[in-house]
Amino acid sequence: MNVTTILLIFLLGAVLTYVSGNKLASKIALGFSIMAALASFYLLQLYLANQNISFNGVWLQSPKVFLSLQADGISLAMVLLTTCLMPVIVLSSFGNIYNNAKSFYSLVLFMAFAMTGTFLATDGLVYYVFWELALIPIYFIALIWGNGSIESRKKAILKFFIYTLAGSLFMLIAFAYLYTKTGSFLWNDLVKLNLTSTEQTWIFLAFFLAYAIKIPIIPFHTWQAKVYQKAPTVGTMLLSGIMLKMGLYSVIRWQLPLAPLAAKTYMPYVLALSIAGVIYGSIVALKQKDLKKLLAYSSLAHVGLIAAGCYTLTQDGLSGAIAQMIAHGFVIVGLFFAAEVIYRRYDSYKIKDLGGIRSQTPKFSSLFLLLVLASVALPGTYNFVGEFTVLFSLYQINIWYAVFGGTTIILGAYYMLKMFQNVMLGETNTKAFADVNWTETFVFVVIIAFLLLYGLYPKPITDLVTPSVKEILTIINR
């Protein structure tokens, strides 16, 4: 058994979901995502037992392209993030009724397929193909099943598509250029290249454009808030929970090892941009009147910090960033789900329409509060582990980075708690708020349990990731 199993499960799932018809689609999709999750845990066991779970095949003779899918600690962590979140995301949509559900769930699974492929591919071109492939399903998910009037969302979503495609095409040029140098797209060959610093600068910038748009780092973030707001919640979860991790993962996997000199030269600028994103995102989040948009900006602030962690090029920075990617993936999915739960009952994301919910449903209220606290990195949650490690790594580079990056904790607590206060507390709302049903509770409990479990005992993930991080760091410092 090797990593292709997960990909095949998702792909087969996408096809069967489409065939199964609208009524069964959601259940089939859930079944296949659970199967993928189980398969990935089994593969994890094999990997930990030092068995070979990679896959190598030839795709094209000329240009030489290998269907090379390899798992190391980092990519496996990301694959697990995807496969664990997928059942949660699919389950979270059970309360919604979608037109043409078979296409919807089929696209969702297809997207999971493409994202898993992105995390596993070690051949540049295969990686690029998966990377682009993930864009098509989310485009249609957001366009066809999104919120609000279609006129208002199509512009936002087209902008997102053009932005991301534009960025990644420059990455494609970079790959093409590297190919003319080595005659191979394989990661192993590419990292051995001795590029001059000018070449590295251009490669670094080309990759940076692609990733900065996807992550997003300011000033490339302008697509984000609108798309998060307009996409259906499942789409927003896929985007914020997994897809933007593709960008962060790619920084660690491709950008830094391929252009280490440039990464070191431009570190101050990139760190400054990332941290500016933290502060900017937090401040803009304070002013938001729309719950989903607020969460979008909070996400901007958090990923800014994760990106900063990646670009510190230190052991702590990278492993902290990976921890925070996983933690943020779970918490943001949970938060968007909370927004969706409210939307199902009040049909609004506007904060001024909400308030006074707590007294009607203490259960939901406490679950939501736990998520809010996790999101502001309360000690004991996995987010704390990630955020603290990243801030520590920033401190190692320069204390001022840590000081400004640390504002995320203060500002984050401020806007998240203020949001919680406005949305949940206050005088009892005149509209009735039905208590959360068991699927909704289950989704929350899974997410919170995960965050608390690894918050108290992060060792398994750290052990999984650390050797691979060390390996990448030796390549960067070669």
């Binding site: 279609i150 053009i162 095409l169 250029y177």
Partner: protein, 456 residues
């Protein structure tokens, strides 16, 4: 050689079929005949051969491109069966003209003599002039035919003049001999002038900037199936011929010529794209998109020695996507609508299959992975980078991004706009079959590019 004769023969058979009242069987016979010819030419291919004192040279290049042309013709003729059913008396004429055009196309990629090249281009062009004006009661079609004829024959004249100058300089019509002479120094100045004129004529045929002005009007006015022919088959033929001429007339493109190609290529793709952004008529939009694709294909001339396989792949990817797109467009126009973007409103709901095919073909043209258009662009880009022209590639990438703007306009219309009209004529199934087959072929070569690139 046999291929050429067989295709012309098939054309005559089609004309005769009309006489002996076999009109119903014309399309099946033609399709079967073309498939047989395709199989025959692959089975009987054994290395490079020349016929009639080098008039025709059959080699891998000509074989591969001829096969592509035959496949495209099969699609086009299959759609012709339904498309021309309102004109039963002219039916056989239309189909046989298409076959004669195909014979011209095959001659254009397998010539070994400038005379044969000119014959080929004239057979192809005259067939197209007739077809463009074939909807004779429609003013637009008349305009289209007339414009195409006037400008096209002018371009043919320039090509002929160029051929004469080359003959004057070298004393040969024979291409290998000209190639041999062009290696040595001391050719008179009218040799390069002649070559330039030939190339200008060909740039007109592929609608490259600044010789592109005919394309939108001609495409818009011509009957949709003819537009499909012009924008897929005719364009691909012209590009292949241009490549063959450039690689056979000159040993090496000198620096100035290369810079010129860089400029023309960049301008062609940029002008085509930006004009396409403004269009409301789908045929005009695809005309401009075709212009910009011509710009991409011109990039191939920058690495002329090694690029044949990639160019072949690009043309195949582009033409298959084009056939699929036009099959859907004809489908929509046959159900009683015009060819404006608004006619595609709500197609995603009304006919999800056709909407999906059109989406896929547009994504292929835009160069999104798994569709053949992605590898086509990618291979051309990496080839051009290897030749040292990063600038063109960067322009190419920027243009790919711009092109998303208009390709997605159509996709958005299909999936986001509501359709208020209720008319729904029954449309023949053949368009769906052609559309699906073409897009499936496109995806197959997209997933497995070596199927095509290993042919050359």
């Amino acid at each position: 050689m046999d291929t050429l004769i067989a295709i012309a023969g098939l054309g005559i058979v089609v004309l005769l079929a009309e006489v002996i009242n076999l009109r119903k069987f014309i399309v099946p016979i033609t399709v079967a005949g073309l498939l047989a010819i395709l199989a025959y030419s692959w089975n009987n291919f054994n290395g490079t051969e020349s016929f009639y004192n080098n008039m025709i040279i059959v080699n891998k290049f000509s074989l591969a491109f001829s096969s592509l042309f035959i496949v495209l013709s099969i699609f086009l003729i299959a759609m012709g069966g339904d498309f021309y059913k309102e004109h039963p008396t002219k039916f056989s004429d239309y189909i046989s003209i298409k076959l004669f055009m195909l014979s011209g196309a095959v001659a254009m990629v397998s010539f070994g003599n400038m005379a044969m090249f000119f014959l080929g281009i004239e057979v192809l062009s005259i067939s197209l002039y007739i077809l463009a004006g074939s909807d004779r009661l429609n003013v637009l079609s008349n305009e289209s035919g007339m414009k195409y004829f006037l400008l096209g024959s002018f371009a043919s004249g320039i090509i002929l003049f160029g051929i004469c100058l080359v003959y004057g300089a070298t004393g040969y019509f024979d291409v290998p001999s000209i190639y041999g002479l062009s290696q040595g120094a001391g050719l008179p100045v009218w040799f390069p002038i002649g070559v330039t004129m030939i190339i200008i004529g060909m740039l007109f045929k592929i609608a490259a900037f600044p010789f592109h002005f005919w394309a939108p009007d001609v495409y818009e006015g011509a009957p949709s199936l003819v537009t499909a022919t012009m924008s897929t088959l005719a364009k691909v033929v012209a590009v292949a011929t241009l490549y063959k001429l450039a690689s056979n007339l000159m040993v090496e493109l000198d620096y100035k010529t290369q810079i010129l190609i860089v400029v023309i290529s960049i301008l062609t793709m940029t002008v085509g794209n930006f004009m396409a952004l403004k269009q409301h008529n789908v045929k005009r939009m695809l005309a401009f998109s075709g212009i910009s694709h011509a710009g991409f294909m011109l990039m191939a001339l920058l690495s002329i020695k090694t690029v044949a396989a990639n160019l072949f792949y690009y043309t195949a990817a582009y033409a298959l996507a084009g056939i699929a797109a036009f099959a859907v467009i004809i489908y929509v126009s046959r159900s009683g609508r015009d060819e404006n973007i608004s006619s595609f409103n709500g197609l995603g709901k009304k006919n999800p299959l056709m909407a999906a095919v059109l989406t896929a073909s547009l994504l292929s043209m835009a160069g999104i992975p798994v569709f053949a258009g992605f590898f086509a662009k990618f291979m051309l880009f990496s080839q051009t980078i290897a030749a040292g022209y990063l600038v063109v590639v960067i322009f190419g990438v920027v243009n790919s991004i711009v092109s998303i703007g208009y390709y997605f306009k159509l996709i958005l219309a299909m999936y986001t706009k509501e359709d208020n009209t209720t008319e729904n004529n029954k449309v023949s199934l053949i368009y769906s079959i052609v559309a699906v087959l073409a897009i499936v072929l496109n995806i197959i070569i997209g997933v497995h590019p070596n199927l095509l690139t290993s042919l050359l």
